[in-house]
């Protein structure tokens, strides 16, 4: 919301209406608009909004299980849609959203903000240009140490499930749909492929507080070229935090920390000059002598940044992208395909955990 309000100042874009079935959140959003001097209409039910307003685009940031029907109704009403990831709670709903996008020709952009992040754009370019060599494994994790709960205003079960929807299987696949979906999108993007199978396991290890979704998951996705995407997420230890590690035989990229590591650290500056001189037919002095003999601590190769300037917010950039797409009336089809495949394979990961089996993609979900 904050990013969207900022964009009203720089982009030729207007917020016309807000809709939220939960009145406290709606009131909070209205206050934020008022603070910026923006007057908007407010709705509790999206059907009322659709019957009264004709926006060019809509941003859907509801709980996961509400994504599909709202998205499909908006697309059918001729409205371009930005929908938070993951796409839907079920495989069929995910497919239905994609089909509605194809049938209506309206934009359906899924909230994978890394697709708009300059660090990722540069890193993926290097990967696709072969700078990392043959990729062998992609590892990703997203670890936290908290109960992943939001405060509930009263003690009723209804409100608990309404507010903490991420913890209940009816509404969410937990760590998979809310966190991993981002990172499998990165893996698919890096490999320019989708998996062929997934196995996994999950459990409630620590937060035995009535939640239904696992607080501890581990999955292995396999691709047709033999590469694996190895994923882990837990909510009772945050030491390793969040990362996607793309590992090739020539180098490694760690996106979240903006680092690139070559497998062969660059030579000392003097050696580099010597090599250049040899190749150029020059015979120049090599200024290399220096340093000292004291037993140094191990020389740690800390890699290098993928890009230098990281003064941006990719959440804002993806909204900016959506606004531009709406204005053009079209978006690169790559965007929805990335979102769709990430969502489908996230849900297949859930199925792998539930069944304990190796899961492949049913033909009806192939696009």
């Amino acid at each position: 919301m904050r990013f969207l309000l900022d964009l009203t100042e720089t982009k030729d874009m207007e917020i016309v209406a807000l809709c939220d079935i939960y009145r406290p959140h709606l009131s909070e959003a209205i206050k934020m608009c008022d603070a910026k001097g923006i007057k908007v209409k407010q709705y509790l039910h999206y059907e009322d909004l659709l019957s009264s307003e004709k926006p060019d685009g809509v941003i859907i940031a509801t709980p996961l299980h509400q994504h599909a029907h709202i998205t499909i109704d908006c697309l059918k009403a001729g409205i371009h849609v930005f929908c938070e990831k993951a796409m839907a709670r079920t495989l069929d709903d995910t497919r239905a959203m994609y089909d509605a996008h194809i049938e209506t020709g309206r934009i359906l952009q899924i909230g994978h903000q890394r697709l708009f992040n300059p660090v990722y754009l540069e890193g993926i370019k290097r990967i696709h240009d072969g700078k990392l060599g043959q990729l062998g494994q992609i590892r990703a994790y997203w670890h936290r140490n908290n109960d992943w709960r939001r405060p509930v205003p009263d003690k009723t079960e209804k409100m608990e499930r309404f507010i903490n929807w991420r913890l209940y299987k009816e509404y969410s696949a937990g760590l998979l749909t809310e966190l991993m979906s981002h990172q499998i999108q990165v893996a698919n993007w890096a490999l320019d492929k989708t998996p062929v199978s997934v196995t996994g396991t999950g459990s409630i290890v620590f937060w035995k507080d009535g939640r239904e979704v696992d607080d501890n998951v581990a999955l292995i996705y396999s691709y047709d070229n033999g590469v694996q995407f190895i994923y882990g997420s837990m909510t009772s230890n945050k030491k390793y935090g969040l990362e996607e590690q793309i590992m090739g035989h020539k180098g490694t990229i760690e996106f979240e920390t903006n680092r690139y590591y070559t497998e062969t650290p660059p030579p000392a500056p003097g050696i580099l000059q010597l090599l250049n001189d040899i190749e150029s037919g020059l015979f120049e002095k090599v200024n290399i002598g220096g340093a000292s003999w004291v037993p140094e601590t191990a020389v740690k190769y800390n890699g290098e940044p993928i890009i230098e300037n990281t003064d941006f917010y990719d959440t804002g950039l993806q909204l900016e992208g959506f606004i531009s797409h709406v204005r053009e009336g079209k978006a690169p089809e790559k965007l929805i395909r990335e979102g769709y495949n990430a969502s489908i394979w996230t849900l297949l990961g859930e199925k792998a955990i539930e069944t304990g089996e190796k899961i492949t993609l049913p033909e009806k979900y192939q696009i």
């Binding site: 500056p269 200024n287 290399i288 002598g289 003999w293 004291v294 140094e296 601590t297």
Partner: protein, 276 residues
Amino acid sequence: MNTVLDIVIWGCEMEYAENASSAIINKIKRLQEVLDRYDSKAETYQINQKASRGTVPVSPLLMHFIRLGIDYLNQTDGYFNIFGGKIYSCLKENSSVNTLQPPLAAHTEEMIQINGRHNTVHFLTDNVSLDFGGMGKGIALDAAAGILEKQGIINAFLSFGGSSVLTRGHHPHGDFWPFALKSGNKQDEVWKLTDTAVSVSEAKTGQNKRPHIWNVKEEIPVSSDRISCVQAQTAAVAEVLSTALIAAPAEKQKSIIQNFKVIQWRVFDTTHEESS
């Protein structure tokens, strides 16, 4: 060796160069398994943990390097000393050794007891600790020279982080390898290297320019802005001397040098040359 090794080889098939490089790296790894004082699996580390408490056996290879270190200690009048590991570590961490460590003994016999027949050592005081940091890179480069010769590599330039360099043959576009310092006021001076080694030491090191070399005689860290550069036939001698010449006072340097076969040497500070 806790630094970067760069190997430049020319004048042979790539395959031969790669084979030689691999052999050198493997050899250095094996040396490190013996000489590393920081790796808990290395022999030197383990000896340092036990030898103050009693007699401990050492491998023939480590015994060889201990004896070599003692020779260098004697030849440098004590200004190069492999037994001051604890002092060097303290110096590295806080530069105030006197308050933390008792002084090293003046003579080898007061620091270590060696039984050559049984290949055992016993450190005679608590502050004795082996540290091959001042000769390890030289030892490794001399071993590399043997591998290059064995594999028929004629032209090579090997550099351990710029402080220890070994050359074989010459630059492809000249009659020698043109070595120069990277800092100070001697950057334009070219040292012509062919089949020799050169080592550079600075009195202060790291980003904070912290003293890291110990003057054994005066029991103080060397805090001048001194730089030494020594060219010799072997990399170990070059490395040992470049350190000793930093630690020793100017009037001692020539007498130390006379105990070694040295091609050329310099000791200077950032403003003027002291001796040569």
